[in-house]
């Protein structure tokens, strides 16, 4: 037995997942899911895929019958989402199921337009020829009607619907070329365009703001690191990372918006999630998480999707390689696309996320045709209503699809693989195969300057610089901006040598807590401190004397700064000007491991930077902006707080009613 034990159908979402995967494997361009009461009462999935020939229909309901695999070795070289042949029989066993299907190429079996099969509790009710549009329509009613126990365990319709939405969201992101629709209780929750543009799918799912914030990620262009050195791609190996990731200005309070697909299969991976957080290191505040959709393409033989029946966990042969590839690709995208976060409009956005729509019962109005269609799903045994057929017909692509039905192989009783053909369904040739790469992203243009050209207008509240840019107004937090400048200066200089320090006229006796004293006794930490410019010497009676301070810290309260820097480096204290992490208590916080030196540098930058409330001259403000322009990540301070905000011309015009 080479396949892990099958997962039974435990909730409507699993049905949707299995059936969507079938539809995708069948090369569908259009997948529509309709549910009632969270799919428990009624669930229908219609696609315009390759369909199933009449004779093979009953076979589809036999366990472990699959057309997706021709020999056991293929299990190690999977290119389809499904491969166990369990879905349809499992669903049929616990519901009243009807399937209406017609092969896309009608000449597969002459004279037969299509077939309809009804299964109830695993027993065949009928199988007869029927008129049907090309593709497959599976209707599942009364899920778990014969399993009262499981019925009871299924949660409310809303929470089941939320699960289904999550699943469809994920597939819609993985397959932007397929148009997904979800209709719940007769109302349209989500509809993607199927335009092949990942961004369009993101806009539909996460909203236009997220769409605007998205930066393209593509690991294939040669990687250029922060010093402008072209990285050797040897490490990246055969791993390619593509997709979209949000600029740091657009973040979320949880990790639910980090989405990965490995060879277009949605996976949950702490490792990859961690790689993303690494890439955003110092750009996001603690407790904020990025939004990203990443496709990771690896050689199918180097990834094991068969860890768990739900296939949401994967194991990589070269995990480290994948990790580095993801981190680098995302970081590169962030560096290239750094742009200021846009001012959040105060008035509610037009966009309501599908999830919010469901929770708040706000639904997008259906197009008239769709409303008519979904309001009349048709009785169990009756052929589907004309409206729907028409709609399905309209999905049909004008061009002829290549042959290669999903059950072809079953019919011929597992024949030898087609000569020369990879175990990809033949219809992969028309560009819709699951393993096909994303449509090539347009090569990125010249690298954007990291900051737009800004003209200083003035200072607000002695804290924010008001500047004018090419598109509207930019507000810059003087402290955060200066902190970023110092942080990168320190980083750059520390890479080569120690920071310069200013000697003190008289050694300063330090008042230190017991724990701080303990750290200073650690030779290694003391060296790190000296590298930054703090020269501390032990005196008698466990006293410590400060002999020199970092040049940038002059004019500050040195003793206080040193104490705070020590505490912050040791994690006892968050940066003075930074919010506390909110999630730490929930145990969700994965602390980004930063070296002592890095933390010290961040903290020193914070203490050296101009404070909020400090009056700056125009010249100083101009200087600050010039310096900020030279940084690699001008958009966040060393602790991840944003440095600037953008109020676009358009927003101003809307706000003042000019548009």
């Amino acid at each position: 037995m080479k396949i892990a034990a099958g997962e039974v159908i435990e909730r409507p979402a699993s049905v949707v997942k299995e059936l969507i995967e079938n539809s995708i494997d069948a090369g569908s361009k259009n997948i529509r899911v309709e549910i009632k009461n969270g799919g428990l009462a009624y669930l229908r999935i219609s696609d315009d895929g390759c369909g199933i020939p009449f004779k093979e229909v009953p076979l589809a309901f036999e366990r472990h019958a699959t057309s997706k695999i021709t020999e056991a070795e293929d299990l190690y070289n999977l290119h389809t989402l499904g491969f166990r042949g369990e879905a349809l029989p499992s669903i049929g066993a616990v519901s009243q199921l009807t399937m209406l299907t017609r092969p896309r190429n009608g000449d597969a079996l002459e004279g037969e337009a299509g077939s309809e099969i009804a299964v109830e509790g695993g027993k065949l009710v009928y199988h007869r020829p029927a008129g049907a549009p090309a593709g497959t329509v599976i209707t599942v009613r009364n899920l778990f009607f014969n399993l009262p126990a499981r019925q009871k365990w299924s949660r409310s319709g809303t929470s089941e619907a939320a699960q289904i939405l999550t699943i469809i969201n994920n597939y819609a992101l993985a397959y932007p070329e397929i148009k997904f629709s979800l209709v719940s209780e007769g109302r349209l929750l989500l509809q993607t365009s199927g335009s092949s543009e990942l961004k369009d799918a993101v806009i539909k799912i996460h909203g236009p703001e997220a769409g605007k914030a998205m930066l393209e990620v593509d690991s294939h262009p040669p990687q250029v690191d922060s010093d402008g050195v072209i990285q050797d791609d040897a490490l990246g190996g055969g791993v390619r990372v593509k997709g979209l990731t949000a600029e740091p200005g657009y973040s979320k309070p949880n990790r639910n918006f980090i989405t990965f697909f490995v060879n277009r299969r949605w996976v949950i991976s702490r490792t990859l999630s961690y790689a993303i957080q690494e890439a955003y290191h110092s750009l996001l505040q603690t407790g904020r998480y990025p939004v990203c959709v990443l496709q990771i393409e690896v050689d199918p033989s180097e990834v094991d999707a068969n860890v768990h029946p739900a296939k949401t966990e994967v194991r990589f042969l070269h995990e480290r390689q994948v990790f580095i590839a993801v981190q680098k690709a995302v970081r590169a995208a962030l560096v290239a696309g750094a742009d200021s976060p846009l001012w959040q409009a105060a008035n509610p956005l037009d966009f309501v996320s599908p999830a919010a729509r469901m929770v708040n019962n706000i639904y997008a109005p259906l197009a008239p045709g769709e409303a008519a269609a979904s309001s009349n799903p048709g009785p169990l045994a009756a052929p589907s209503p004309a409206g729907e057929r028409e709609r399905q017909r309209s999905w049909e692509e004008p061009q002829e699809h290549a042959s290669g039905g999903m059950l072809d192989d079953v019919r011929t009783n597992l024949p030898a693989p087609k000569p020369g053909a990879a175990p990809v369904p033949a219809n992969g040739s028309n560009g819709n195969s699951p393993t096909e790469l994303f449509k090539p992203i347009q090569p990125a243009g010249p690298v954007k300057p990291r900051l737009p050209l800004l003209r200083v207008l003035g200072q607000m509240a002695n804290t924010y610089l008001v500047t004018e840019g090419p598109d509207g107004m930019y507000l810059i937090d003087q402290h955060a901006a200066h902190e970023r400048v110092f942080y990168e200066q320190f980083q750059a200089r520390l890479a080569g040598r120690d920071l310069d320090s200013q000697l003190l006229l008289e050694p300063l006796l330090l008042d230190l807590s017991a724990s701080q004293r303990l750290w200073l006794q650690d030779a290694e930490k003391k060296t790190e401190l000296a590298a930054l410019g703090f020269r501390v010497e032990a005196g008698e009676d466990h006293s410590f004397w400060l002999k020199a301070v970092p040049a940038t810290l002059m004019g500050r309260d040195i003793k206080l700064s040193l104490g705070e820097i020590l505490d912050e480096a040791e994690g006892l204290r968050d940066g003075g000007c930074h919010p506390n992490r909110s999630e730490a208590a929930e145990g969700l916080q994965v602390e980004v491991p930063r070296s002592w030196r890095d933390k010290l540098a961040a903290s020193l930058a914070c203490h050296s930077a101009v404070r909020a409330g400090q009056v700056l001259t125009n010249e100083e403000m101009r200087q600050l902006i010039t310096q900020l322009e030279r940084t690699h990540h001008p958009n966040a301070c060393a602790h991840g707080r944003p440095t600037l905000m953008h109020l676009s011309q358009g927003q101003l015009e809307r706000g003042f009613g000019r548009k």
Binding site: R493, S501, L504, L505, E506, A551, G555, K559
Partner: protein
Amino acid sequence: MKVSCQQEQLAKGLSIVGRAVSTKTTLPVLNNILLATDKEEGGRLKLAATNLEISITVWVPAQVQEEGEITVPARLLSEFVSSLSSQGKESTVQLTLDQPTLTLHVKGGRYEANVKGIASEDFPSIQSVSNSTNNISIEAGVLKEAINQVAFAASTDETRPVLTGIFANFSDSKVILAAADSFRLAVRTASLASEVSQAFTAILPARAMTELARIIPDDESMVEISVNANKSQALFKTDTVHFTSSLIEGNFPNYQQIIPKAYQTRAVLETSSLNQAVRTAGIFAKDSGGNIVKLSIIPGEDVTPGSLLLTANAAEVGDNRNEIDASVDGQNAQIAFNAKYMIDVLNVITTGQVALELQSPSNPGVVRPVGKDDYVHVIMPMHLAPR
């Protein structure tokens, strides 16, 4: 209250007391100037303002027709009175108080204004420094220069209050003023016009002293200094101005031990060319993170004169080398300073030549005027990490 006085004198008086007007709004009356009539010396108008740290009182000659007192918003009155200069050079200003409405009517030529005031009872009484133990006289010009030579070195960090002050040590017929932050020290000795009966010390707030230096004249007129018995306040008196400042309590560190007694290398330079060279290097130093200027002193040989080489280096931006002539006593020396500290001291050296005395790259450097031994400035060098 009904008085008239010369516009020019009134405007000048208002601008002087204006320096003590508080900018904080917690106590509105502190934004006001007190005006009070004074029958002495043939009639004067007293103007006073305080921010509770310093207070300034100025007397302006005036014709008092009716006595009274009032406080009025400082900026409003002084700006209006300044504008009255348009009414002719010798014009007079009449101030008439309408007591019931607390409104001051100000009239100059054909301009007039009403300014609403606050009753003078609300104005904090300015403590007069009475029964002072000692009365010291010093030339205004000397005091002014001495303050300017040390005040900038005082710390702005309020956590060590004594370092925000100027330490003053009065003894015999001289006063030693010293100020230091954690990185530099300035010491100036000035002679007094009179002998001090009993030596004493005080710590004067540097900020207040800077204000004082601004308002006292740069001439040979006398400033009388007195400190009250419990050493909480000092009074500086000129003919027309009384300037009171609170004193800082505490012990000033022993600065004498910081001044190096010897040197390895001494370079004598033209003050102005050194100043210019440091400023030029400072342009580049500003971007270097620590504002660092490196100095190399090269002794002359036989016929070639010695020189001082200044270099500054801004990472990724550029660097700068400036060389100036120097007469060098001793060996080669290298040291790095914060450019700002160099510029600060060179700005207050009044002699044409300046001496730079060094021991080692990590020992303090000393700057002295050449030809005058009344001033010493000590700067701690920067420690440059090995490259």
